[in-house]
């Protein structure tokens, strides 16, 4: 299978450590699909904002959602450009030298303009995709949104058109002379692990 490529632009083409750059959709989509949250950046009068939020990829788009009054979503829907960044940390890279310490990671930067989704079917599909993104299969085991819940939710669609991934893997890379040092060097793998599910036994909302 030939993976489709996202053409690098002046913003997405890696200038430094360019061997870590990836522009194929298979890599980009894999990172987007694995990460639970993204960090969405935008500027209001040159002042930056970076907001963590849930999201989901559906085909060629990333979907975001929130209350209709949500400041970040309203700003984006109003035309502010977005930089949506997703990062998975895979390991601590401990080198013999402080200088060459690093991390193994996989990240995606996605630039673009988001649009508010107005079609109710697309909106429902996006909201269920965000639930599916948390736990696969979950959207069939939960009450779907009502018309009122749909109206109170703002859903944005961001196309995956200007994007790149950056990937570091492997062990530390030290200076030749440092390999004689006695310091432990290697990788401490990291992974986000699910604990035992804790069932909610309440029969009414807290305080309700």
């Amino acid at each position: 299978m030939t993976a489709s490529q996202v053409p690098p632009t002046s913003r997405t083409k890696l200038r430094r450590k360019s061997d870590r750059g990836r522009y194929d959709r298979e890599t980009i989509d894999g990172i987007l699909d694995e990460a639970l949250v993204c960090h969405v950046g935008f500027a209001v009068e040159r002042r930056p904002w970076v907001i963590p939020t849930a999201f989901a990829r559906v085909g060629e788009h990333v979907y975001l959602h929130g209350a209709v009054g949500n400041f970040a979503l309203r700003t984006l829907a109003g035309g502010a450009e977005a930089c949506l960044t997703v990062t998975l940390v895979d390991g601590l890279v401990l080198a013999r030298s402080a200088f060459h310490h690093s991390m193994n990671y996989r990240s995606v930067l996605l630039f673009g303009h988001a649009a508010a989704v107005t079609d109710d079917d697309e909106k429902r599909a996006a909201l269920l995709a965000i639930v599916e993104h948390m736990v696969a299969g979950r959207s069939r085991s939960t009450r779907p949104p009502t018309a009122q819940e749909l109206r109170s939710t703002l859903v944005l669609r961001l196309p995956i058109e200007e994007a790149s991934a950056k990937v570091r893997t492997g062990g530390p890379i030290d200076e030749l002379a440092d390999y004689e040092l006695p310091h432990w060097a290697g990788v401490v793998p990291l992974s986000l692990v699910q604990g035992e599910p804790q069932r909610d036994l309440a029969s009414a909302p807290p305080g309700g």
Copy 2:
């Protein structure tokens, strides 16, 4: 102990779900100290960038580092305002309704202007703090930076002056009528777990 407070500003005061807002340094520092990476946002001619990077807090400041040619660091050192965001995801909150699905998380937003660190002692201390932030005690078991390595590294200092934390904990909060639904509801805890350290047995740099 009375925790010191960071005075909320128009940017850091939570407008929605304000009960999730925290402005005490104990909470803010705890989140900064636990998170391995931050997402730094800035704007260049109204176009946003969000870059994941390592960091460390030392007292009243957060330190960032990278190569002297690093685009993000140079932009920040040149006067662009920063929004540094840190997010810890603690759990998936599965509600009886799709609408009330959520996540448990702890996040910090820190706004400000970063300055390049020019004092060599402060620079060394910041670089070792970034190593310590990865693995406590590690800075004593690695070769410290040489003068040349120091010169080739740009270190930025960002004061913790305009900051807030946001914290969600606990189970799902559904609509009263939905508590009768048969759907499983509760929390799936998430944590970033270290795997077995993998020692680097190389005696020279890969390909070197």
